[in-house]
Structure formats: C-alpha cells, structure tokens
Point group: C2
Chain length 136, copies 2
DNA sequence: TTACTTGCAAAAACTTTGCAGGCGC
DNA sequence: GCGCCTGCAAAGTTTTTGCAAGTAA
C-alpha cells in the first residue's frame, strides 16, 4: 500500500504511514475519527485533517473503499486494488472483501428494461460474521 | 404513498404531502435541500427539518431510498415498497428502479469464501440514461 | 380536546479550506 | 534547499435537537 503511494508520486511520511497502518490493522469499517484515534497511537501529533486527506488519496488510488450503510456512509475499509466488494457485519462491523459479483445478467436485463447504459455498479452485503454468529 | 403513511399511523398533513409530492414528481435523485425548494412551491412555510423528518419516515416504511454515490450520499428517490434497486444517471441524476437482482449465486459463494451469513445487500448501478446518451 | 406535527433557532456533527511552519527527498 | 506535507484554527455544510405554537382527528 505504501509502495503504491510512492509509485503514484506521494512521499512516505510518518503521518501517512500512521493512517495507512491504522486502516490496515482494522479488520472492520473505520470512520475518520476512529482512524485518527488509532493513528495517534503511532504518531501522536496526527491531525484529523490529514486523515481525511490521506483517505482521499487512498480512495482515488483504489486502496481504500468507502462503505455505505443504512445509517450513514462514512466508514472506510482497506481494499485490494481494483474492482471488489465488501461484506460487512451488522453487529461488529468487521468486513471481508470479495471479488466476482456475477451481475452481468442483471445488467443486461436492466439495460433492456430501463434503457440506461450501465457503466458501473456498487454492491455491498450486510450480514453476520462467523464470530458474531457464534455469540448468539 | 400517502395511503401507506396513513395506514402506518401518521397523519396526513400539508407539510408531509408537500414533501411526498416533491419526491414523487422528481424522476431524479433529490437532496433534502432540493426537496425543500420543490416542496415550498406547494407549501411555502415548509421547513427543512420537516423534510428530514419526513424522509426518515418514508425510508423506514420503504417508500424512499437513499442513493449512495461516490461523492457523497444524500440523494433520495421514491421507491416502490419492498425490495428493489436503482440505476442512476451519472449526468442528470435521473433514476429508474428495477427489481430482480439475481445475486443468489454471489451470495452462496461469498458465504463459502468468507464465512459470513449474508442477510441483506445493497446494489446500485450508475450509467447514462437514454436522454443523456443521446445528447453526446 | 389531545396527541401528533411543525418550523424556527440553536446546537452538534462532519468536512473542507487557509496558511505558516515542518519534513521528505 | 525546494517543494510537498502537516496540523492548527477557522469556515462551511449538513443534520439533529429543544421547544412553543399549530393542526389533524
């Protein structure tokens, strides 16, 4: 992830590393505030603004993805570069990434029914992770 | 839509009607601010707060759906009650609703690969509507 | 009448911007 | 050393809350 940042021409700074590490260590969706808190354990002078700015960069590079949810959409999760989707646990917010969403069939039927040319899609699953399912 | 509100125990007020009508007449995603503006042409004393409150009710009843987008997620669209998804035009924001997203196969493969129990999903398509495609 | 609604004003929450100083390269 | 980065403070936005007055039933 840091390597990709470097390739893209961004310098390797302490603040960015703190944000990136905080995001990667989290196996659940993290809000900018969460990331600030976690990042500060690595770099105490880290500011919220830098978290936002770094997230912006990561998002543009496809390294982080914003998770959208019923009750707001300001959680972020690390993401393998490129296309992919996330499943998020409705209880603990832990996320898992997956690829291959065979929705080609849906696309053609939507095109036929609505006349739209579909260029992109956003898919997100919600459920219970193995750990939370066990707890019940 | 108003009938459904009544059945759910909400009274039929001028303000709510203004918001509902504004949302229904819009064939594109509308922000709370858009709805306030449009709603005021019907009920000039309408306040922004009521727009938010009404949208909250409609959302809970499944009559309105929040559209999530790259650059923020505060657009709403009227929605047929129950399960469904939207395609939104990336140019004019016009939306169309569709049902039948055959993602059952995806679900089982995700369950197998991640161990999550998937309970719900959220899918949104982006593209060009017939009108915007023609304009180019 | 009685409880539900509304809208104003204010507060709160969340993001972005301006800018002087700091740090990576 | 030069130019990209950072963080503080402040400004902007968006959404929520408190409350007295208004309205549906």
């Amino acid at each position: 992830m840091l390597a990709t940042l470097a390739e893209a021409g961004f310098s390797d700074t302490r603040a960015r590393r703190a944000v990136v590490d905080a995001l990667c260590e989290a196996d659940s969706g993290a809000s900018p505030a969460d990331l600030l808190a976690r990042g500060r354990s690595r770099h105490s002078r880290l500011g919220q603004v830098t978290v936002y700015r770094t997230l912006g960069i990561l998002e543009r590079l496809g390294l982080a993805r914003k998770l959208h949810q019923e009750d707001g959409c300001s959680l972020y999760a690390a993401s393998t570069r490129g296309h992919g989707h996330h499943v998020i646990c409705r209880t603990c917010r832990r996320v898992a990434e997956f690829e291959g969403c065979s929705i080609e069939k849906v696309l053609s039927s939507v095109t036929a029914r609505t006349g739209y040319t579909v260029e992109g899609h956003w898919l997100e699953l919600v459920g219970l992770c193995p750990a939370c399912r066990g707890k019940r």
